[in-house]
Symmetry: C2
Subunit: 208 residues, 2 copies
């Protein structure tokens, strides 16, 4: 099974690495790190990842994962990721996004009229792009899977692993990555964080 993990400048590393850690370790998976050029790609807090292939060279994959990141609007403007997604999605078994990666799926026409989720601060943006926006952490709709912000990619990938390789394999993976979360705070959602923190975070994330 060919797994395509999309890279672009100022993506958020954890959006990609959560799903990668769950999916790339499964049996018979070949992970491809695909970007516009072979040059290393710098994530939005400085981690730099080396692509293994380019959009021009990889014209199909069984499973596609698109991360979000602070560079999403620039990548939406240049259209390169969405053009590639529009090409590979029709023959992919699964197309998935994390966080603002959903906007790139939407731009590719993949979310038209579909239920989909995204980072909580970008729900309006995603709705404007044609999706039926959900506040769920993970949404599975046919062959399209979307996750909420950043860390939600881990929950998304375990859900997907269960669908593809069965519950027992997904449970094994959860045990191997010791995913028994114990957040020291309860502010991971706009429903639980203080209104002041939500307003401040929204300003940081959207400039509004």
């Amino acid at each position: 099974m060919d797994l395509a993990l999309v890279l672009y400048p100022d993506m958020t590393a954890l959006d990609l690495v959560g799903p990668y850690e769950v999916l790339a370790a499964q049996p018979d998976v070949t992970a491809h790190f695909v970007a516009a050029t072979p040059d290393p790609v710098r994530c939005d807090s400085g981690l730099t990842i080396v692509p293994t292939t380019t959009f021009d060279a990889l014209d199909r994959a069984d499973l596609v994962v698109v991360p979000g990141g602070s560079g999403w609007a620039r990548v939406l403007a240049d259209g390169v990721v969405a053009a590639w997604l529009a090409g590979v999605h029709p023959t992919a078994t699964w197309t998935a996004s994390v966080c603002s990666g959903s906007t790139l799926l939407a731009q590719a026409g993949i979310l038209d009229g579909r239920p989909a989720t995204t980072h909580w601060a970008l729900r309006d943006e995603l709705a404007k792009l044609g999706a039926v926006v959900s506040t769920e952490r993970v949404v599975v709709d046919g062959s399209v899977v979307t996750a909420a912000g950043v860390s939600a990619g881990i929950d998304m990938a375990l859900t997907l692993a269960g669908r593809i390789w069965g519950d027992e394999r997904a449970e094994l993976t959860q045990l191997v990555i010791e995913y028994d979360p114990r957040p020291p705070y309860d502010s991971g959602s706009p429903d639980t964080a203080s209104p002041e923190l939500v307003a401040f975070a929204r300003g940081v994330l959207t400039g509004s």
Copy 2:
């Protein structure tokens, strides 16, 4: 504040990227990706990261994070990471590990007689190296912070962010990365997974 994120062959990317995502985004943090050589480092499921500096060039940091990964025993055998850790730990404000990264702290003498945690499958190994092994997800002991397996690095880093930058800043970070975990299964700990799954995972992870 200088944040040193240690890289070595066959490390587990999520061990590093969880803490990186929480810590590198904080105010006035400079993230250094430090490895034995400037060559890109391949993680155990194929993600390849570009170092920004080397062990020879970086002789101090305020905060050090050491990931685990399937390469831990080989890195323990060659001693390079532990030698560097022994040099930087005395002047670091915080020294932290995730998963089997704890064994490298132990080899450097940093965990002698200290309470510390690690991946659930490696508790015996860590005890043999001199630590007082805890089954907690995150252990803070003086300036040393250890986390359980892989995904526990996120909980560790939020704990550390609260100590360094205050609770509100840590809560903001949790909200920005939408860390409101909803694992689709309940098998993330050896206490909740089936005994058969625990035995199988232990065999995969330790070869025993």
